[in-house]
């Protein structure tokens, strides 16, 4: 039987506020345990939560970006359960009335575009961390992360493969960074995914029983976990078994998912509206103000790059994958002009991206900033240097030897474009190689590249390739 995979994702994006969602404590990552947990975060008797406006604004920004309805009144609810890293014994979240309602987002899988529905997005606080190592049979609790603001983004079960799920997660990851509402750092847990996975016989409507897979903190793990889970479920079904609805944990070391708790063991969270926080009312003015601050979104930017700069869909997608890369590219193009956009794109996506990856650098920390790369592209564009020489110049720029012009000057890499000088060199080569000339003239066309090589050698590669080509053709023809 042929099976179809059905996937929905829940993404937890940590909002980039400097203080926590319900307290004034700092959210900075990596502080010594429990040094960023105030009276509210550790749930002392008598403390009360106060909503962080910055978190609300970020949630609204997200909602507007996915074209969702922003609920003018939303309600915070308590999700009750006991755990040592949950200081109040409940998590403040949103349940029945989330701040962001239905929306959608367009993802690109290969050459195909697909629209994925977003069910809702709601604000909630993170829990602390339980540390099971280093305490000899005891558990340590670090509450620095407690009450860190999260936006939980719930998708519709619209994805049909691990590739689509990854594309969706990457698109979301890019979007939250574009919006500047989340730093997207997956190692630090700022962007985490849970996947709901089920399979059904292809062509049927009814969803299969799903399993929720937790702890997917990289795109690779997301992909691997889904692929493992799909095979697991199909194996069970094909051998006549039934899928048990359960929560499963992905173990990246063993590359497998394993059962965490069954539906029967699921907690009754006893959600009810938090009486410490009144229903949150948002004014139309506030939403309109935030609308004005929305940046150009990745999808719109990609379309504009195609139209404005004549780039291919692929190039535009690569260049708009991050806001920083798109900005870098546009800075280069603004300097060298749209007609040179393709050259600029090739440099940003090619040589630059290559060395950034090699040296593990972010584009924002590139030793060759956009204006300097523009200087190089400009010299290619005005024929001062060839593309081949440009690679040499770029490497020198990367190593901090100065800007393109200085390097071209000091290394004497300027292209020879004086046709008289090139002719002179060609004449010398022809005179020195009468045999090859005779063979060429008798029809051995292949020897043309021999003459090009000789000329390049004589000019140390600096002859303008086009000019050299044209003049050589003419001279050899006699």
């Amino acid at each position: 039987m042929e099976w179809e995979t059905v996937i929905g994702l829940e993404i937890h994006a940590q909002l980039s506020t400097t203080s926590k969602i319900f307290s004034g404590a700092a959210t900075a990552y990596g502080a010594a345990p429990n040094t960023q947990a105030c009276a509210v975060d550790i749930a002392l008797p008598g403390v009360l939560p106060v909503m962080n406006k910055g978190a609300v604004e970020r949630a609204i920004k997200f909602g507007l970006a996915i074209g969702a309805n922003i609920n003018r009144e939303s309600v915070f609810a308590r999700k009750n359960y006991f755990y040592p890293d949950l200081p109040k014994g409940y998590q403040i979240s949103q349940y029945e009335l989330p701040i962001v309602g239905k929306g959608d987002i367009t993802i690109q899988v290969g050459d195909q575009e697909k629209v994925v529905g977003i069910t809702r997005a709601h604000l909630e606080e993170d829990a602390g961390k339980s540390l099971h190592e280093d305490f000899h049979g005891m558990t340590g609790v670090d509450l620095n992360r407690a009450s860190t603001p999260l936006l939980e983004i719930v998708s519709e079960p619209d994805m049909r493969s691990s590739a689509e799920a990854v594309a969706y997660a990457k698109t979301m990851h890019s979007l939250v960074q574009y919006l500047d509402i989340c730093d997207g750092n997956m190692q630090e847990g700022s962007f985490r995914c849970d996947a709901n996975v089920s399979v059904r016989p292809k062509g049927t409507e009814k969803f299969g029983t799903r399993c929720e897979i937790k702890n997917l903190n990289s795109f690779r793990f997301l992909e691997r976990a889904i692929e493992y889970e799909v095979v697991r479920q199909i194996d069970i079904l094909e051998s006549g078994g039934k899928i048990a609805q359960e929560t499963r944990l992905y173990d990246s070391d063993k590359d497998e998912t394993r059962a965490m708790r069954s539906k029967e063991e699921a907690f009754d969270y006893r959600y009810f509206p938090d009486p410490d926080l009144l229903p949150m009312k948002l004014s139309a003015e506030m939403i309109a103000e935030i609308q004005k601050t929305l940046p150009e979104l990745p999808d719109a930017k990609r379309r504009r790059f195609i139209q404005q700069y004549g780039l291919s869909s692929y190039d535009a997608a690569v260049l708009t994958a991050t806001k920083a890369m798109a900005a870098y590219f546009e800075n280069v193009v603004n300097s060298v002009g749209a007609p040179n956009a393709k050259t600029a794109a090739n440099w940003v996506m090619g040589d630059l991206a290559g060395v950034l990856k090699r040296d593990s650098l972010e584009i924002t920390h590139s030793p060759v900033p956009a204006d300097k790369l523009a200087g190089l592209v400009a010299r290619i564009a005005d024929n001062t240097i060839s593309g081949k020489i440009a690679k040499e110049v770029f490497e020198a720029m990367w190593n901090g030897e100065g800007d393109a012009d200085a390097i071209i000057e000091s290394k004497g890499l300027k292209q020879i474009t004086d046709s008289g000088a090139i002719e002179k060199i060609i004449d010398g080569i022809i005179a020195a190689n009468p045999e090859q000339l005779a063979q060429y003239r008798s029809g051995k066309d292949k020897l043309f590249s021999f003459f090009v090589g000789q000329a390049m050698k004589a000019t140390q590669g600096k002859a303008n390739p086009q000019q050299l080509h044209d003049l050589l053709k003419k001279k050899l023809a006699g």
Binding site: L44, P45, G89, F272, P275, D276, L278
Partner: protein, 484 residues
């Protein structure tokens, strides 16, 4: 001096007839003498109180005194006070020293008042007799066989027995008004949101409200001036301009329309309490007021509604007492779940456990709609009753409690009968309205009777005026029990 009003004490301090240290010491001496009998205080710390008194004396010397500077005030042990043990009447917090100040404590500190100690209370404010306290019951100063009411029973007994010039209380279903009534003092529960709940240990967040307990309405007004005020740390605190609650005290009552809910004068009201209330109403008529019958048809529903909503919120509010970070932890356990179970089984008393169980039940999947949601709907109807009633009157009056103080142990095995003693006070919390109790004579057994005054939202100044005018004309509030 122990019978002096706050205004008189303030004047004596300003005139240097007495220092705050002397005044504080006098009350500390009284506490040392009488508290072993009354058990009104859980924690007394003379050193801390006297240090505050010295600071107040300095301030008075510098001519920077306010109306409460140097005046000792007993704090219900529900308010976190930095460096003070703050137990909320529970074993689970018996070893908890608050590392921060409640907003109410901060405001009293800023006013230069002296914290005289932490008063006894029903555990987590759950009770109407002060018998659920882990630190033992409080005796009613009028009769050692009687309860002082609850949950602010320690504060009420302390003021009634003149162990403190004034005290704070909190009121979730009547916990200021009912003990005030049962001990013959004055107390006001303001409109929900007037006094910040920050640092006030939560019982039922949507109902809890702090307020003053004192010998007179005038004292209550002075105290409320300090206690009330917007607080950004409490999202349910109301952002309103500050008020002077003493501003209308002198207004005559001519033309005042008093609404009398027929449901408050029906079956269940003890004849001696009814008699005292009638007498008080007659006095009001003499002062120029007129009465009109009103109806609060959903009064009977207020107790079941309250006993769904308050436990629901409490079951969640009390989850933080888990033995992990502070407070009591069971000495022996096998694993995490066992630690939770034993800590909470040993740390909470029977009434708190009962309410956690009820609250957990009504919020559970499958029961939420039938109990919690239904109760929320009825809560709105109950509030609506008052809105309708206030179309016909300026204030509502009636008994605070259906009987005078009952005996210790009389209702402790019968929770429902205990719950019914709050029948006239609970609806006020459900509606978020301000309510007050003032002394209005004595019952057949010589125990005090309280008259309840219910105002419309933010009508505290009016209610205090109504109470004060009565106290100008009567002397019930000046009667003090003969303790020892």
């Amino acid at each position: 001096m122990i019978n002096n009003s706050l205004k008189e004490l303030s004047a004596a301090l300003a005139a240097k007839k007495i220092s705050s240290r002397e005044l504080t010491q006098a009350f500390l001496d009284r506490i040392a003498q009488l508290n072993p009998v009354l058990n009104a205080f859980i924690t007394v710390d003379a050193e801390k109180s006297l240090a505050q008194a010295d600071a107040a004396d300095k301030r008075i010397g510098q001519g920077q005194a306010g109306p409460l500077t140097g005046i000792p005030i007993a704090q219900k042990d529900i308010f976190c006070a930095k460096g003070w043990r703050t137990t909320c009447g529970s074993k689970i917090l018996a070893n908890f020293t608050a590392p921060y100040d409640a907003q109410v404590i901060e405001r009293f500190d800023a006013a230069g008042a002296v914290n005289l100690g932490k008063t006894n209370m029903d555990e987590f404010a759950m009770g109407s007799s002060n018998e659920t306290s882990h630190f033992g019951p409080v005796k009613n100063p009028w009769d050692p066989l009687a309860v002082p009411g609850g949950s602010s029973g320690g504060s009420a007994a302390a003021v009634a027995a003149r162990l403190a010039p004034a005290a704070t209380g909190t009121d979730t279903g009547g916990s200021i008004r009912q003990p005030a009534a049962l001990t013959g003092i004055s107390g006001i529960k303001p409109t929900y949101g007037v006094v910040s709940r920050y640092g006030m240990i939560a019982f039922a967040s949507s109902l809890d409200q702090g307020g003053p307990m004192a010998k007179s309405a005038e004292d209550c007004a002075l105290l409320l001036n300090t206690m009330a005020g917007f607080d950004t740390r409490d999202s349910t605190s109301l952002d309103r301009p500050p008020e002077d609650y003493t501003r209308d005290l002198a207004q005559p009552l001519k033309g005042l329309k008093i609404g009398l809910p027929k449901e408050y004068f029906a079956e269940g009201l003890a004849p001696d309490v009814a008699q005292a209330v009638e007498t008080a109403l007659a006095e009001y008529k003499k002062l120029g007021a007129q009465t009109v019958e009103v109806s609060l048809p959903n009064t009977q529903l207020s107790i079941p509604v309250y006993y769904v909503l308050a436990p629901a919120e409490a079951s969640s509010n009390l989850s933080r007492y888990d033995g992990v970070r502070y407070g009591y932890r069971a000495p022996e356990y096998t694993d995490l779940m066992d630690m939770y179970k034993k800590t909470r089984a040993q740390g909470f008393g029977a009434e708190v456990k009962r309410r956690i169980l009820i609250g957990t039940y009504v919020l559970s999947a499958g029961y939420y709609d039938a109990y919690y949601l239904k109760a929320q709907k009825l809560r709105r109807l109950i509030a609506q009753d008052f809105t309708e009633a206030f179309k016909q009157c300026d204030v509502i009056m009636g008994p605070t409690a259906p009987t005078t103080a009952f005996n210790l142990g009389e209702k402790s095995d019968d929770p429902v009968s205990m719950y019914l003693s709050d029948i006239y006070t609970i609806a006020v919390n459900l509606a978020g309205l301000p309510g007050m109790s003032i002394p209005a004579g004595f019952g057949a057994n010589g125990r005090p009777v309280g008259l309840q005054i219910i105002g419309n939202y933010f009508a505290e100044a009016k209610m205090l005026n109504v109470a004060h005018q009565y106290q100008l004309a009567t002397d019930w509030h000046l009667r003090a029990p003969q303790v020892v």
